[in-house]
């Protein structure tokens, strides 16, 4: 009996394996961040708009905030900029920006032309802060809670759908839970 059941079992498990592994909707570039629920790395950088001022996420301890990684060489970041402006206008959470491996003058021009949704933008010239946050491609948007833990990470341009579905419920839950 098992002579027939065993090949059938192997066949069925292969079908399941292929259905999951070769599903065209599965994004092979999606990697769960090991930093979820871990403390967000602290950083102090110069302000992209003013090299004499510093930007640090320590100032936002006690607040739920967004951390958005962008750069002027990143076309998808241009795409998400209007979404970030819309989110900023809702005044739900402050948005802290990280200008990753960029040119300061280009970044300043970008913020002037497209609008500035950020409370402040740190200028990460050598990518050290980005690596510390486990960034592997811009744009990426993190949600950090009041205790400074990373609650969620979105890799890809922000959209209002993502904001409403993924971010807002988490922000409300974080505030209700006192975290």
């Amino acid at each position: 009996m098992w002579k027939y059941l065993l090949p059938l079992g192997v066949f069925i498990s292969l079908i399941v394996l292929f259905a999951v592994g070769l599903n065209p909707k599965r994004d092979i570039h999606y990697l769960p961040s090991p930093l979820i629920d871990k403390p967000a790395p602290e950083f102090t950088l110069t302000d992209v708009l003013d090299p004499n001022r510093t930007v640090s996420n320590r100032a936002l301890k006690g607040h739920v905030y967004l951390f958005n990684v962008w750069a002027t060489w990143c076309e998808a970041c241009r795409e998400e900029q209007h979404t970030l402006l819309e989110i900023a206008q809702q005044h739900v959470v402050p948005i802290l920006g990280l200008d990753w491996n960029d040119q300061r003058s280009a970044a300043q021009e970008w913020l002037r032309d497209l609008g500035d949704p950020y409370q402040a933008v740190g200028f990460d010239q050598n990518g050290h802060v980005a690596i510390n946050w486990g960034v592997y491609g811009a744009p990426e948007t993190y949600l950090v809670d009041r205790k400074g833990r990373i609650l969620f990470k979105h890799i890809a341009p922000m959209t209002m759908a993502v904001w409403n579905k993924q971010f807002l419920p988490r922000i409300e839950a974080a505030r209700r839970g006192g975290a």
């Binding site: 092979i28 990697l31 750069a71 990143c74 960029d102 690596i131």
Partner: protein, 153 residues
């Protein structure tokens, strides 16, 4: 037929590569590449070893040693800095794993999740051995009538 097969293979490869680039959101910064060898040859050889054991995350089948991606260059620079700062290999792998997950390591540690991957070749070898033994035993019990029947071929 041979050249044709390689062309198809090449096309397929190109398609796979371009699909990979197309779906990656991760745009890569144009920027600094760290070049030149470390002065200390011991550090340089550790640098070469470590960067071959770390996966490039935007070009997922390359080590960061081989990749031209900017993120790979930044990760190489990070490895260099940590080596110069006197960090051990384990500390460097640990740093990368904490930020990019186990996937960044080409030699994932044996644990509950990876035991299947590490164990599968040995399990298959065992299954193969069992099958061979069974087949050989069954055949050795068969009467010897290997003479081909006339006109059977």
């Amino acid at each position: 037929m041979r050249p044709r097969a390689t062309t198809i293979g090449g096309l397929l490869l190109a398609a796979i590569v371009s699909a990979g680039i197309g779906t990656a959101f991760g745009a890569l910064p144009p920027g600094v590449y760290v070049k030149g060898e470390l002065v200390n040859p011991a550090l340089q050889s550790r640098f070469e070893h470590i960067t071959r054991r770390l996966r490039c995350l935007v070009c997922q089948n390359e080590a960061i040693a081989d990749s031209d991606a900017e993120l790979a260059a930044e990760l190489r620079a990070e490895v260099r800095q940590m080596l110069v700062a006197g960090k051990s290999n384990a500390q460097i792998y640990g740093y990368m794993k904490a930020r990019y997950g186990e996937f960044v390591l080409y030699d994932p540690p044996v644990d509950g999740k990876t035991i299947f991957i590490w164990g599968a070749p040995f399990a298959l070898l065992l299954v193969g051995a069992v099958v061979i033994i069974r087949v050989v035993r069954a055949r050795s019990k068969m009467p010897l009538d290997d003479e081909p029947e006339a006109g059977s071929t």
